[in-house]
Amino acid sequence: MKTFKMGGVHPEENKISNDAAIEVMPVPQQMVVLMNQHLGAPATPVVQKGDKVKVGQLIGEAQAFMCANVHSPVSGTVLKVDTCKDAFGLTKPAVYIKVEGDEWMETIDRTPDIKRECTLEPKEIVAKLKEMGIVGLGGATFPAHIKYSIPEGKKAEYLIINAAECEPYLTSDYRVMMEHAEEVCIGVSILRKALGVPNAYIGIESNKTLAIQKMQDMAKQFEGIIVEPLKVKYPQGAEKQLINAVTGRKVPSGKLPIDVGCVVSNLGTAFSVYEAIQKNKPLIENILTVTGKKLPSQHNYVVRIGTTYNDIIKHSIGELPATTGKVISGGTMMGKAVVNLDAPTVKGNSSVLVMDEGEARRSPETACIRCGKCMHACPMGLEPYLFSSLVKNGRIEEAKEHNILDCIECGCCFFSCPANKPLTDEIRLGKNRVRAMMAAKK
């Protein structure tokens, strides 16, 4: 079975919410929609206080290059255009909407019929991705229309769909494959058409046997979709690792996947592409896993983007267990702890993971024993222990020479370190310092 060559770890999988079918979360009473839900500049609000909006109406327009449209996930009246604290307590521009009923835009096709034919030209597809505010749902929330506008002189040869879901606990992609296999395959065909590549590969880790089976059966009905089972190893879902696993190609340092002819998208993105292109439905819903070992029940939900963490917790499990240590958005390896549960969810959120006090805390740090485990674990072939000491001693130039900027922050080094050294944190700090140094030089 295929996998990537270098490094990697195998954390406990904990896919305990695998069997929970996707439920629909009710629409909350008040909605706060953040204007930067994507990588890049925030969208510019195009509504004002008092405006009536419908579900799917454009409320934030992408005016910068690196930006994505934001649509209203609810219908109602705009209360104000202001700022709001996000999940990490940082102040972001936002639109507040008072929910009134659930009136959708007429253009959106809400029938359950599945539409297979797509008559749009590649350019029209990309334009529609932009209009519908589609971003990569693998975590980086990279605007899809930029990814699928291949720059001059470069040629895409492979489209790779990331369904590895290598992060522990997360099961949203798995559920989408189980319940919406056909829609996903249509979405993949659309993306394949947009790029003009002969084949699309869907990489699925082998611990999802049912999903592999389902996707393989479905893919037979479509032209040029190949399901590629992959050996279970973290971080299989990282762009560069997935390319290596599926094609055997290696993205050189400082280059992008398109430089080796690859475009990688998440499975969730393919599903939202189907909805956007075939059903005219902008990206207004997330598929979220609500999970945790100590929770009474496990869930997978489709929620309106902007529902607060508190609303999700209240609806799914009532209240947090008393022993809760952290609520994490994302998986245990790369997810971030949420400090403000009143904050709205944003595009790209894939889970609400509730961790117990005991499992959430880090163990105390001890001295490095030079075992080299971090080097073996690093999927990029870097030397985390070296960065740790270089950054601590302010030797930023040297850290740059050792390619610190290649780090994908997957957390394998910290995971494997027997001394519990916060290696990933130190490298992230180092990357910031290197970028600051480079900016100062310019």
Partner: protein
């Protein structure tokens, strides 16, 4: 036997003489002429290599002094006026007296101890924590409490108060080199004039959020209401971005703003206990021409 000794002495002597001559010419050829004054100036400096002057170290500062021939724009903050006088003597130039300064932590220490919204257990570095989230007390502008400033101080003059989680400056040890101010990722620490009898008044907050939001964040946050600016007789207070700032060159430490401030964000230090009404100190003399090294705008 004696002959062998003689031969050895002779051979080594000749080799020695030969290399002496070679070395002499090489030394002449590659001679580095250095002003002996640099050594003398370096001798006077504290030798902490704190970098507060903006040079790489004390030696580099000495070289800059000698190259320039005077002390315009050059100041060794840890050495203060005493060192400036000595250097001026060596260089044979005049020196202007600078107002002594001290590092001031502009975040209210009263709140951070109790109010923890989250428990941070990542890398103990403010610079890193600042990139992750707002910090344990939920203030996006406040002190993060990991002690980057403490690590930066070469003079053991700033320490974390375990009770409040904010740093405290030891005024006797602080040399106003500014290393802590540079290390702080949130630019909370500012160099301010020490003031007469070490008495100072300053806004102990850098929160730029709107009033209501700031008040939610911290009970002692500056809400930018402007009452202090209205009451100030010297027009020393400016409000920008919902935040009040007291110009220490204009402030006469009358403390009218301290009593006026609704959130007690303005603090006075080293004043006698408020038993009787303190007599207003005379206006400070015109500030020295020495440039104030840390106006907050320059820092941010």
């Amino acid at each position: 036997m004696t002959q062998q000794i003689l031969i050895a002495v002779l051979v080594l002597g000749v080799i020695g003489a030969f290399f002496a001559v070679v070395l002499y010419f090489v030394a002449q050829k590659f001679k580095v002429v250095e002003d002996p004054l640099i050594d003398e100036v370096a001798e006077v400096l504290p030798g902490a290599n704190c970098g507060g002057c903006g040079k790489a170290g004390c030696r580099a500062f000495a070289e800059a002094c000698v190259a320039q021939g005077n002390l315009d724009g050059l100041r060794c903050a840890p050495g203060g006026d005493a060192v400036a006088q000595k250097i001026a003597q060596l260089l044979g130039c005049a020196v202007e007296q600078g107002e002594p300064q001290v590092a001031v932590v502009r975040c209210h220490p009263a709140n951070c101890g109790e109010k923890r919204l989250s428990n941070y257990d990542g890398l103990r570095s403010c610079a890193f924590q600042n990139t992750v989230y707002t910090g344990e007390n939920g203030c996006p502008f406040g002190c993060l409490g990991c002690g980057d400033c403490v690590a930066a101080c070469q003079f053991d003059a700033i320490h974390m108060d375990p009770a409040t989680g904010t740093p405290v400056v030891d005024e006797n040890k602080c040399t106003a080199c500014g290393a802590c101010a540079k290390a702080c990722p949130r630019r909370i620490i500012e160099l301010r004039n020490k003031g007469k009898k070490d008495r100072r008044v300053y806004v102990s907050c850098v929160n730029k959020e709107k009033g209501a939001q700031a008040m939610k964040t911290c009970a002692n946050a500056c809400i930018g209401c402007g009452k202090c600016a209205k009451v100030c007789p010297m027009e020393a207070i400016t409000i920008a971005d919902n935040l009040s700032y007291i110009d220490f060159n204009k402030c006469i430490a009358c403390r009218k703003c301290v009593t006026e401030c609704p959130t007690h964000a303005i603090v006075d230090v080293n004043f006698p206990a408020p038993a009787k009404k303190p007599e207003a100190p005379k206006p400070a003399e015109a500030p020295a021409a020495q440039p104030a090294p840390a106006a907050p705008q320059a820092n941010s």
